[in-house]
């Protein structure tokens, strides 16, 4: 953990970075980011936005620029997608998290949304990291699927070094040998991050497992491990999703998950007292 001048605690007094987005304080309590993988249509996005808001989500996620394994897969709606997200925010009040892929788009995307997301494939795209570091928007930095904790924190350091202190780390599963799940969700990294850094740490159980049945248990486990929040994919009609339909919760499943997470509030407080 050398050279982590800004990201690491470096043996100093314990402190946590609190990031304020709209009315939400990330790093204080448990924050839930929910929404579709991609903005497909205005109707689908607004419908999902209202449903996740109703169930108690704090921020809305949705991709307008999509990094897809195949160049022939749906690439996202671009600016039109950002305009739809802006409308969803106007209607629901939920701040927006969206991924940015291209350094040329960073300043533009920042005009429409509240949190810029750096995807797992771009974690070490240093010119992109510098560019988001120059904006004043909070950045959700996903862990590269082959990256060590040290490499990951070094990427956060790039953003902080450019003058943007508002970085949220997000564990989204790493590549391992098991093919039963899409990735191996590394929950041990949550308390590990807390040991070395002051930055908030989120967990993405949707990409982390790639399996619908595992999203809820791993969300609850993330909370138990001390994560500051989760980012979960919800689609108003997962069967028709253009992207990641297999791992998206439907609105009822999401409402049930929120209910269970809320019940954990008291539990976590009890445990902290012991």
């Amino acid at each position: 953990m050398k050279n982590l001048r800004l990201t690491a605690l470096n043996g100093g007094p314990p402190r946590r970075t609190i990031i304020r987005v709209g009315g939400v304080s990330i790093g204080e309590g448990f924050t839930v980011i929910a929404g579709p993988c991609s903005v497909e249509t205005e109707e689908q996005t607004l419908k999902t936005a209202h449903q996740v808001k109703e169930a108690g989500a704090h921020l809305l996620r949705g991709g307008a620029f999509k990094p897809r394994t195949s160049p022939y897969a749906f690439q996202g709606l671009g600016i039109k997608g950002l305009q739809i997200l802006e409308k969803a925010k106007k209607e629901t009040g939920l701040p927006i998290v969206t991924e940015v892929l291209d350094p040329r788009d960073v300043s533009w995307v920042a005009e429409y949304v509240d949190v810029l997301q750096i995807g797992t494939r771009n974690m070490q795209n240093f010119s992109l990291l510098k560019e988001v570091g120059r904006t004043k928007k909070p950045v959700l930095l996903k862990r590269g699927m082959y990256s060590t904790l040290s490499e990951w924190l070094n990427c956060a350091e790039y953003i902080l070094a450019e003058g943007n202190p508002n970085v949220i780390l997000c564990e989204r599963g790493i590549r391992s040998f098991d093919t039963y799940t899409r990735n191996t969700l590394d929950l041990s990294v949550v308390p590990a991050v807390k040991e070395v850094s002051h930055l908030p740490i989120f967990v993405d159980p949707s990409h982390g497992t790639g399996k619908l049945s595992l999203v809820e248990p791993m969300s609850l486990a993330a909370r138990a491990a001390g994560a500051d929040g989760i980012m979960v994919e919800v689609h108003c009609n997962p069967a028709e999703a253009l992207c990641d339909g297999d791992q998206s919760l439907n609105p009822e499943m999401f409402a049930s998950l929120m209910n269970k997470l809320n019940h954990m509030d008291a539990c976590m407080k009890e445990i902290a007292k012991i």
Partner: protein, 352 residues
């Protein structure tokens, strides 16, 4: 090489222009009506037809164009018979002033004017039945030119509109946001969006009017260009809105006044006056004291310097000039001021 799709795109583009030009021509026909004793003018019709017959180029044969123009003239006369009321506004179609006047009265026919001076003159000479001008903006403050014209006019204020201004970024259909380098608009709109422009490294280029810039973008299609204008301008010039509410601070509201040669005869709830005061201690206070004593709520005080050290004041207040209390207040203010003029009692419309 052009393919059928490209050719059709050009045809669509020309059709939009033909429609806009036809609309301009109809507007001029309505303006011509204000000068003519009667709608029928056979000599003028003959001159027009002779002229177009002589000038018709290439593929346009004279029989065809005569048919087209006979129809155009027929439609112009139909419109002239309708007794439309014309309202002059500054800028091109799609200007915020036009949006405000639509909010005021949808029945009015908006006629674009080059500047505020032309609006005032057009109303004064009877070319337009009324006019609309912007007086103040929450971000830009008072519109100096309009306030100077107001001090010296004989026109009456017959209405007011408060309009939230949403400044939008407009591009040609299919344009890539990454290729935008320059942004054209009025100096006020560019000022109000300066943060957006600097964050995205865009060069601001001043244009005489925001809607005029939109028209230019649609017709000249300069490379790497965008404009800041209204959503209405995007609709009129078939442009694509890629960002709304671009301004630095939000809460961008402009207040417009409706001007007319005749005083408003209907009941109003707001009044405007202008006056100067003698160069003695306490004269402005004496004028304001009248309102305080009568319990009248002032909504705007503006001042315009007429010469060094001499000011003319604008006062707007809530109340009707049919109310005894207001009548008495105005009598008292007139007594303690100079060059006093009552500008009208009217209704104010807040929109958005």
């Amino acid at each position: 090489m052009m393919d059928l799709k490209d050719v059709r795109k050009r045809i669509d583009f020309l059709d939009s222009r033909i429609l806009r030009i036809l609309n301009d021509r109809m507007e001029l026909a309505l303006m011509a009506r204000k000068f003519k004793a009667s709608i029928e003018d056979n000599d003028r019709e003959k001159t027009i037809l002779d002229r177009i017959r002589k000038n018709s180029p290439g593929l346009i044969n004279s029989e065809f164009i005569e048919k087209v123009y006979t129809e155009i003239i027929k439609e112009s006369k139909t419109l002239q018979k309708k007794d439309f009321r014309l309202i002059g506004f500054k800028g091109e179609h799609g200007a915020y002033d036009e949006i405000a006047l639509r909010e005021w009265d949808k029945e009015l026919i908006p006629i674009p004017c080059e500047g505020y001076h032309q609006v005032f003159e057009g109303v004064r000479t009877g070319l337009y039945d009324c006019g609309i001008v912007a007086v103040e903006n929450t971000l830009g403050g008072i519109v100096g030119e309009v306030n100077e014209l107001l001090v010296n006019t004989d026109l009456y204020v017959t209405g007011a509109v408060e309009l939230p201004i949403s400044l939008c970024l407009l591009v040609l259909h299919g344009a890539d946001h990454r290729e935008i380098r320059t942004v054209y608009s009025s100096s006020q709109a560019l000022d109000q969006c300066s943060n957006f422009l600097s964050r995205n490294n865009l060069e601001a280029v001043q244009y005489y009017d925001s809607a005029g810039a939109a028209k230019m973008l649609a017709e000249d299609m300069p490379q790497g260009a965008a404009v800041i204008a209204s959503r209405l301008a995007a609709e009129i010039y078939d442009l694509h809105v890629i960002k709304e509410d671009m301004d630095n601070f939000g809460n961008n509201v402009t207040r417009f006044l409706i001007l007319s040669k005749e005083e408003n005869k209907e009941e109003g709830d707001k009044c405007s006056i202008v006056f100067s005061t003698e160069h003695r201690a306490g004269t402005l206070f004496k004028a304001l004291e009248v309102f305080a004593k009568k319990g009248v709520n002032l909504t705007r005080i503006g001042s315009i310097r007429s010469s060094m050290g001499d000011y003319t004041f604008f006062l707007d207040f809530i109340g009707s000039n049919r109310d005894e209390n207001i009548i008495a207040a105005l009598r008292d203010v007139e007594a303690v001021t100079v060059n006093y003029r009552f500008m009208g009692c009217y209704k104010e419309r807040k929109t958005g």
